[in-house]
C-alpha cells in the first residue's frame, strides 16, 4: 500500500489529543464522623422532614438514631417530630404557615443540643406550569464510540404576580414501577412490583433569582433532563416541586450547584466547604454540615406511558419479561426489585 505524505499527516493529526478525563486516586483523611443535619419545613403536607447522620468514608452518612427533634415556631410553639426511618424524622399532617418563622432543635442521645437558624416561610405562592419535550444528544461512551441518547426535558413556567426579588428552586422527582420477572412456578404466584421514588436528575439544581429579570413571567426554565431508559417501559410519573426560598437557602443551593458543576477546567470556581445553618448550642465552633430550610412549595405532576413517546422505546437487555428462550441472565432487579435504590413495595396513593 502506498502511503502518501498527506495520509501520514492526517494520521498524525488524527492523534491530536485535546483533553482526556480518567479516574485518579486522591487519598483523603479526616473530617469523618461529622454530624449532618438537613431537611425542610414545608407548606405541603408530608414534605416536612429532618434527617440526621454522621459522615462516613466513601459512602453516604450513617444514620443517627434516637434523637429528639422539636419543630419550633416564632411563638415558641413546639411539636416533636417522629422517627419514621433510621435517622429520618417526619411530622404527619403538618403544613407550614407562610410568614411564620420556624427552626428545629435536636437533642442527640448523648445530650448534645443543636439548633437551626430560624427561617421564615415566604409568604408568596406562585403557580407552576410544566411542559416537556423530547430530544436526542450525541455522547461518547466508555469505548470512545459516539452514541445517540434520547432524553426528555421538563420545563417550568410561572407568573411572578408582580413580585420582585424572589428566589425559586425546583426539584423534580420521578416515580416508576418495576415488575420483577414472573418465572413459572407451580403456584402461579406473581411477584409484587416495586415502586421507586427518587430525584429524576440527581445533578441538577434548578434555581432562578428574579433580581435581574424584567417581565411578569418566567418561562421555560429547564428543571430536569432525563435520559430515556428501560424505566420508561411502564408508566412513569414526574413530580415537580417549585419552592420559594429564603436568601440564605438560595445561597446555600447556589453553592451546591457550583460544586456540582465542576469540570476541572480553568474556569471552575475553587471548591470550598459549604457551611449550613445548624449550631451546637454548647459548643458553637463545632462543625456541623447540612441546612434546614423553610419553604413555600407548589406541586405539579404528570405521567408518561410508553405510547406517549414520539419514538419506539425498546430495551431488550433490561426487560424483565419472562422469555423461555432468553440466553442472557436477568438483571438483579428482575429477580428482586427491592435491590434497587429508593424502592418500596408500597404503592403511592396517586400511582
Amino acid at each position: 500500500m502506498r502511503i502518501s505524505f498527506r495520509n501520514c499527516l492526517f494520521f498524525i493529526l488524527a492523534q491530536l489529543p485535546f483533553y482526556c478525563i480518567s479516574p485518579v486516586e486522591i487519598p483523603v483523611e479526616g473530617n469523618l464522623g461529622t454530624l449532618v443535619i438537613s431537611g425542610q419545613i414545608s407548606t405541603v403536607e408530608g414534605r416536612t422532614l429532618i434527617q440526621i447522620g454522621r459522615t462516613a468514608p466513601d459512602r453516604l452518612p450513617y444514620a443517627v438514631r434516637g434523637s429528639t427533634v422539636l419543630l419550633i415556631d416564632h411563638l415558641e410553639n413546639q411539636i416533636a417530630m417522629i422517627e419514621y426511618d433510621s435517622g429520618i424524622y417526619r411530622l404527619p399532617g403538618f403544613q407550614g404557615v407562610p410568614g411564620s418563622l420556624y427552626h428545629v432543635e435536636i437533642i442527640l442521645s448523648t445530650g448534645a443540643v443543636y439548633r437551626s437558624q430560624p427561617e421564615m416561610i415566604p409568604i408568596e405562592n406562585l403557580p407552576l406550569e410544566l411542559s416537556y419535550t423530547f430530544g436526542e444528544d450525541q455522547a461518547v461512551n466508555a469505548d470512545g464510540a459516539t452514541i445517540r441518547q434520547k432524553f426528555i426535558s421538563i420545563y417550568a413556567s410561572t407568573s411572578l404576580n408582580n413580585l420582585k426579588n424572589i428566589r425559586i428552586g425546583y426539584i423534580v422527582n420521578e416515580t416508576f414501577m418495576v415488575s420483577p420477572t414472573d418465572f413459572p412456578d407451580p403456584f402461579g404466584s406473581i411477584p409484587p412490583p416495586c415502586f421507586i421514588d427518587q430525584k429524576a436528575e440527581p445533578n441538577r439544581i434548578a434555581q432562578v433569582s428574579t433580581r435581574n429579570i424584567t417581565g411578569s413571567k418566567i418561562e421555560n426554565i429547564l428543571i430536569c433532563k432525563r435520559n430515556i431508559d428501560w424505566t420508561f417501559l411502564e408508566k412513569h410519573y414526574f413530580t415537580a416541586y417549585q419552592t420559594l426560598l429564603s436568601e440564605e437557602s438560595f445561597q446555600y443551593w447556589s453553592r451546591v450547584n457550583t460544586l456540582a458543576n465542576q469540570t476541572g477546567s480553568i474556569f471552575d470556581t475553587p471548591p470550598a466547604q459549604i457551611r449550613g445553618n445548624i449550631q451546637n448550642l454548647a459548643s458553637p465552633e463545632e462543625t456541623i454540615w447540612g441546612y434546614v430550610q423553610s419553604v413555600n412549595e407548589t406541586t405539579e405532576r404528570f405521567v408518561l406511558y410508553p405510547y406517549d413517546f414520539p419514538f419506539p422505546i425498546f430495551f431488550s437487555n433490561e426487560n424483565c419479561t419472562y422469555n423461555p428462550n432468553r440466553t442472557e441472565q436477568y438483571s438483579q432487579y428482575c429477580l428482586n426489585c427491592l435491590t434497587m435504590k429508593n424502592s418500596t413495595l408500597q404503592r403511592p396513593d396517586w400511582f
Binding site: 493529526l13 483533553y19 478525563i21 473530617n31 431537611g39 453516604l60
Partner: protein, 812 residues
C-alpha cells in the same frame, strides 16, 4: 547595565588567540582604514579622546551586549553594555581594533582617531569556534560578573533550539524551563516566579506593560519568534527602572528594523502560519518591520470525534508593526504597534475573547554617547468578553483596561566602572466600565454597568552600577506614588465588622479625576557581587516592590479573561520584600556554569477571595476579597553547559509558597487563619534540556521536566439533602494532584531547499503520551452511585506531534 568584569582568563584567551591569529595571517591587512573624529584645536589640547559606538549584528541590527572590544592587543579594552554601547578612552592615533562576541564572527578593523567621535561596529552572525555550538546572547561569564541575582537571559536563537508545542517558539514556555519558574500546567495563562502570582510579573514589550501574554488558553505565547530578539527575566534583584509588580520582570525586546534590503521570513504549520517582512523605507533613514501570525485550528477540531470538541471553534491572530526613523546621528524616533486577538467557543456552552493593543512612540537620543536619553509614550488596552449562552440567564461580560504610560530614562556611562540610570515614569489607568448584559435572544437580563477604579501611578528612579576591587554593586531606589481618582462610588462599612452588603452605612460619589485615595513609598533595590576568584562569585540581593494594579481571578489559575483593577480604599497596593543569596561557579573555561541560589519573599496585601466569591459585575467587590499575607522560600540549583557540540542545562528547585489570612479579617479568614499552600505551590521542580548541533544548521533537542503536583481542595465525605448530593470539601488546598512528568523532542533539518534559507522542524510534545493531571474534579453523582469520585483532567492526553516549515528570503 554595563558588563565590566575584567575576566583575566577570558582576556588571556583573547590575547593568545589574537597572537595566534596574527602569526597565521594578519586579519587587519584587508581592513580599510576608517577615520574617527575631527582633529580640532580644542581636542588637540587634550591628551586622550573618547571613542564610543554601538556594536550590532549586521543581519538584524540587534545591539550586542557583552562584546569585547580590544585596541592594539589589550592596550585598551572594554565590553559593550546591554544596549550594545561601548566607550573607550585612548590617545589620538592609528589602531587595530578587534571585536569579539561568542555568538558572532570576530571583526577586525583599522581606525585612525583624530578626535572624540563615534565608531559603530557591525558583526556577522556565526560562531567563533567551528567545533562548538554556542547560542548565548550574553557574555559567557555573565553569571559570575553580574552584580544582580536571579537574572536569566535567553535569545531567540536559544529558544529556537528548544522543542516546543506545535512548533511555535514560545518565550513563556522557555521561561518555565528556568529554575524558580513554574506554571499550573498546559493551558494555563501566565507563570509563577519564586512563589509569586502570575499577575505579579511585569511583562514588558519594549518597556510597554502587557496584561496578557498568551494565545489559545495559554498554549501559545503572544510573541512571534520573528519579532522577538531576546528577553531578560529578573527574578532576584530588580533594577530600579522597573516597578509596579511584586514578583518579577520580564523585559522582551523586539528586533529593530534596519534600513537595509528587504527580507521576508515566515513559517507554515498545521495550525498556525506567520509571515514577517522588514527592510528599508528611506535609505539610511528609516526602516519598517511588519509581522503577522494567524491560527486556523478549526479544521482539526471538526475531525475530532468528541462532540464537545468538534462543535468548538477557536482562532487567534497577532500583528506587529515597527517603524524606525533616524533623524540624524543624534536622534531617532521609533514607533511600534502591537495587537492580538483570541476567540474561543466551547461547544456553545461558553464563549470568550480577549485582545491586546499597544501603540508606542519613542525618542532615542545619541547626542552624547556617554548619556543616552530615551522617552516612551505608550497607549495600552486589554479587552475581554466572556459569554454565558445558557438560558435563561444568558449574558455577556465585558471588561477593558486602558492605560497611558510616559517613561523617560537617561542612561549615563561615567566611565568603565560607573553607570547611572535615572528617570521618571507615569502610568494612568482609566478602564472602561464593566458591563454585563443579556446575550442572544435572551433579553430578560437587565444591563448592568460597574465603575472600575481609575488611578495615576507616578515613579522616579535612579539606579547605580559600579565596581570596587572585587565587589560590584547595583544600588537603586524607586519612589512611587499612586492616586486613585474618580469617577467612583465608595461604599462605607460599619467599623469592626466584616464587609458585607448588610454592613454598608454610607456611599460617597467622587466625580471625574477627583482624588479619592493615595498610597506610596520608597522601594530600595540592591545587588552586591563579591568575586572569590575569576570564576567564582557570591551575590546577595534585596528588593522592595509595590504593585498598584491587581488581577481579579477566583479560579484555580489565572484565565485569559480575568479582569484587572487598580488599587482603591479597600484594595491597598501589594508589597513584597525579596531576599536572595547566590553562589556561582564556572568550570572548564566557562564551558560549565553552575549556581546555587537561595531566596525568600514576604508579601503583604495580596488578594484572596472568600469562598464562592462573586466577582463579575459586582459593585461591592471589596465584600468578596480578603487582604492576605504571603511568604515563599526555596533554593535553586543550575548546572549548564554553554559550549561544545552539545549544550543544555539541568535545574532543580525546591520552594514553598504559602498564604495566610490574618484573624483580624473576622469571620472570613481562610483555614482558620493558618498558613496554607498557594494554588501553584510545587515544592520540587526538575528540568533538563539537551541540544545537539547537527549537519547544516540542523539540531536535535530533548526536554525533560518533572514537578510535584499542585495543591487542591478535595472531597472528604458527602451527604444528601432533597435528593442532591452535597460534597464536604477539605480545608483549602490540603491535598495535591499527581506529579507532572513530560518529555519533548525536536529535530531541526536545515537547508531543505537549496536556494532558500529554510528549515523543517519536527517535534513531539509529551513524547511519553503521559496524561498529566491539569486538575482534579469530582464526578457528578448518578442514580447508581451517589458518592462523587475523583477524576483528573489532562489537557494533553497523549503525544502531540507537529511539523513546521520556516523560511527566509532576502533581497540582499
Amino acid at each position: 547595565m554595563v558588563l565590566r568584569g575584567r575576566n583575566l582568563m577570558a582576556a588571556c584567551i583573547l590575547v593568545i588567540s589574537t597572537c595566534l591569529s596574527i602569526q597565521a595571517q594578519d586579519p587587519w591587512a584587508s581592513a580599510t582604514l576608517l577615520i574617527v573624529g575631527k582633529d580640532t584645536a580644542q581636542l588637540a589640547q587634550r591628551s586622550n579622546v573618547i571613542v564610543t559606538g554601538t556594536i550590532r549584528t549586521r543581519e538584524t541590527g540587534t545591539p550586542i551586549a557583552g562584546a569585547s572590544i580590544s585596541v592594539n592587543g589589550f592596550k585598551f579594552f572594554n565590553y559593550s553594555d546591554n544596549n550594545g554601547r561601548y566607550i573607550l578612552e585612548l590617545p589620538k592615533g592609528e589602531y587595530k581594533v578587534t571585536v569579539r562576541h561568542i555568538s558572532t564572527k570576530t571583526d577586525y578593523s583599522r581606525i585612525k582617531v583624530l578626535g572624540s567621535g563615534v565608531f559603530d561596529i557591525e558583526l556577522d552572525e556565526g560562531v567563533t569556534s567551528l567545533e562548538s555550538l554556542t547560542i548565548l546572547a550574553r557574555p559567557i561569564d555573565a553569571n559570575i560578573q553580574q552584580s544582580i541575582t536571579g537574572l536569566t537571559t535567553l535569545s531567540t536563537t536559544e529558544m529556537k533550539a528548544l522543542p516546543m508545542l506545535l512548533g511555535e517558539v514560545d518565550i513563556v514556555k522557555g521561561i518555565q524551563l528556568m529554575p524558580g519558574v513554574t506554571s499550573i500546567g498546559e493551558g494555563a495563562t501566565g507563570f509563577n516566579v519564586r512563589g509569586g502570582r502570575s499577575d505579579q510579573n511585569l511583562i514588558l514589550l519594549n518597556e510597554a506593560p502587557l496584561f496578557n501574554t498568551s494565545h489559545a488558553l495559554g498554549f501559545v505565547s503572544s510573541f512571534s519568534q520573528e519579532v522577538v530578539d531576546n528577553f531578560d527575566l529578573y527574578k532576584g534583584t530588580i533594577p530600579a527602572q522597573y516597578g509596579g509588580r511584586a514578583s518579577s520582570v520580564v523585559s522582551i525586546n523586539t528586533l529593530n528594523p534596519k534600513p537595509e534590503p528587504w527580507e521576508y521570513e515566515g513559517g507554515i504549520g498545521p495550525l498556525t502560519s506567520r509571515f514577517t517582512a522588514k527592510g528599508v523605507v528611506r535609505e539610511e533613514k528609516s526602516a519598517l518591520l511588519i509581522s503577522g501570525r494567524y491560527a486556523y485550528p478549526n479544521w482539526i477540531l471538526k475531525k475530532v470525534s468528541n462532540p464537545d470538541v468538534n462543535t468548538s471553534r477557536t482562532s487567534f491572530n497577532d500583528t506587529y508593526i515597527s517603524y524606525d526613523h533616524k533623524i540624524n546621528d543624534g536622534n531617532k524616533f521609533k514607533t511600534f504597534l502591537y495587537q492580538s486577538h483570541d476567540s474561543f467557543n466551547w461547544s456553545d456552552k461558553f464563549k470568550y475573547s480577549w485582545s491586546n493593543f499597544l501603540l508606542q512612540t519613542s525618542w532615542v537620543g545619541f547626542t552624547n554617547r556617554k548619556a543616552s536619553p530615551t522617552v516612551n509614550l505608550t497607549y495600552g488596552q486589554f479587552k475581554t468578553t466572556l459569554v454565558d449562552p445558557i438560558e435563561p440567564t444568558a449574558s455577556q461580560l465585558q471588561n477593558c483596561m486602558r492605560y497611558l504610560q510616559l517613561k523617560s530614562t537617561l542612561n549615563y556611562i561615567l566611565n568603565d566602572f560607573f553607570t547611572l540610570t535615572g528617570g521618571v515614569e507615569s502610568m494612568f489607568y482609566f478602564p472602561n466600565q464593566e458591563v454585563k448584559k443579556g446575550y442572544g435572544s435572551n433579553a430578560n437580563l437587565a444591563p448592568r454597568s460597574v465603575l472600575k477604579n481609575s488611578g495615576l501611578e507616578n515613579s522616579a528612579f535612579i539606579n547605580n552600577e559600579f565596581t570596587y576591587k572585587k565587589f560590584a554593586f547595583t544600588l537603586g531606589i524607586r519612589a512611587s506614588h499612586y492616586l486613585q481618582v474618580g469617577p467612583d462610588s465608595v461604599y462605607h462599612y460599619t467599623d469592626g465588622q466584616p464587609r458585607t452588603l448588610q454592613s454598608v452605612i454610607d456611599t460617597t460619589y467622587y466625580e471625574q479625576l477627583k482624588p479619592i485615595q493615595s498610597y506610596g513609598g520608597l522601594e530600595p533595590r540592591a545587588g552586591i557581587r563579591y568575586s572569590i576568584t575569576k570564576n567564582q562569585s557570591i551575590k546577595i540581593g534585596y528588593n522592595r516592590m509595590r504593585q498598584y494594579i491587581h488581577q481579579i481571578s477566583n479560579t484555580t489559575t489565572a484565565t485569559p479573561v480575568d479582569s484587572w483593577i487598580a488599587s482603591d480604599q479597600y484594595i491597598p497596593p501589594q508589597l513584597s520584600d525579596s531576599y536572595s543569596v547566590g553562589y556561582f561557579v564556572n568550570l572548564n573555561d566557562n564551558v560549565w556554569e553552575t549556581s546555587l541560589e537561595v531566596f525568600g519573599r514576604r508579601m503583604k496585601n495580596i488578594i484572596e477571595y472568600i469562598d464562592f466569591a462573586q466577582l463579575n459585575a459586582n459593585p461591592h467587590l471589596e465584600t468578596e476579597l480578603i487582604s492576605s499575607v504571603g511568604r515563599s522560600y526555596g533554593l535553586e540549583l543550575l548546572l549548564r553547559k554553554l559550549k561544545g557540540r552539545w549544550t543544555g542545562w539541568v535545574s532543580y528547585s525546591y520552594s514553598q509558597s504559602q498564604i495566610r489570612t490574618p484573624a483580624t479579617t473576622g469571620t472570613f479568614s481562610i483555614n482558620s487563619g493558618a498558613w496554607f499552600p498557594s494554588n501553584f505551590n510545587k515544592p520540587h521542580v526538575f528540568n533538563a534540556v539537551w541540544t545537539k548541533k547537527g549537519y547544516k544548521n540542523g539540531a536535535f533537542s530533548i526536554i525533560a521536566t518533572y514537578s510535584s503536583g499542585r495543591p487542591i481542595t478535595a472531597i472528604e465525605s458527602s451527604y444528601i439533602v432533597n435528593g442532591s448530593v452535597i460534597p464536604v470539601y477539605s480545608l483549602r488546598n490540603q491535598y495535591k494532584i499527581p506529579d507532572y512528568v513530560r518529555i519533548d523532542i525536536s529535530l531541526t533539518i536545515g537547508n531543505v531547499f537549496k536556494k532558500i534559507n529554510d528549515s523543517l522542524i519536527l517535534s513531539i510534545y509529551n513524547l511519553l503520551g503521559r496524561d498529566n493531571a491539569y486538575s482534579v474534579f469530582y464526578s457528578r453523582p448518578s442514580a447508581n452511585y451517589y458518592i462523587p469520585k475523583p477524576y483528573k483532567l489532562s489537557v494533553l492526553g497523549s503525544a502531540l506531534p507537529s511539523i513546521t516549515y520556516n523560511f527566509k528570503i532576502s533581497d540582499k
